[in-house]
């Protein structure tokens, strides 16, 4: 069964460094999303991506965040200058219509 895959599963980075989180959505998905979940807190929407552009973003998704789908398969989230409070699980999701399929997440630890 196809699934959304995310790499790496765990990333440790120093504060101020740039990180790129990668996702390979299911091939027939049209809509792509990034969510984050700080430990012990709710899943929060970051950004949605459709037709090679951002369709919606939350107030969390500020100028330090960016997304790309550079080659038609990978979908990336870049955090330019990480802060301690960026430590969280980051989930990629894809959807063709109503059903959104989530990846297993990347646990980002900023030290």
């Amino acid at each position: 069964e196809p699934e959304v895959t995310q790499t790496p599963s765990h990333q440790v980075t120093q504060m101020g460094q740039e990180v790129i989180l990668r996702c390979v959505p299911i091939s027939n998905h049209l809509y792509f999303y990034w969510y984050r979940q700080i430990l012990g807190q709710k899943v929060e929407f970051l950004v949605s991506f459709y037709n090679n552009e951002i369709s919606e973003k939350s107030e969390i998704f500020d100028d330090q965040f960016s997304v790309e789908r550079p080659d038609g398969s990978n979908f990336t989230l870049k955090i330019r200058s990480t802060k301690l409070e960026d430590s969280a699980m980051y989930f990629c999701a894809g959807a063709r219509d109503t059903e959104a399929f989530f990846g297993q997440g990347t646990r980002l630890t900023v030290v």
Binding site: V4, V43, A93, D97, T98, A100
Partner: protein
């Protein structure tokens, strides 16, 4: 006020019990309502979604939405230890589940 509020739990039940998980929401523009199951340190897994008011059944799981009271429920019949997980309710404005707004989650433990 949170847009989606979920009974916090945790909830512990014996195997075979009927489980009721509940959420309320504040934004009447929400049209799609989802239930996800999340195991520890894993991604949310979609269990069911419902459009507008009504019931939807899938095996041991039944989702109910009452838009008049802005109330969302998930019932699990004949609960099993494998049902132990955190259950997340979510709501969205449009069909692609775009900007889903999640509740905080309810952790369920089903004891053998």
């Amino acid at each position: 006020q949170k847009e989606v509020e979920q009974d916090p739990g945790p909830l512990s039940v014996p195997e075979g019990a009927i489980v009721s998980l509940n959420c309320t929401y504040s934004n009447s523009a929400f049209q799609y309502f989802m239930w996800y199951r999340q195991y520890s340190r894993k991604g949310p897994e979609l269990l069911m979604y419902t459009y507008s008011s009504g019931n939807k059944e899938d095996g041991r799981f039944t989702a109910q939405v009452d838009k008049s009271s802005k109330y969302i429920s998930l019932f699990i019949r004949d609960s099993q230890p494998s049902d132990s997980a955190t259950y997340l309710c979510a709501a969205a404005y449009n069909t692609n589940a775009g900007k889903s707004t999640f509740g905080d989650g309810t952790t369920l433990t089903v004891k053998p």
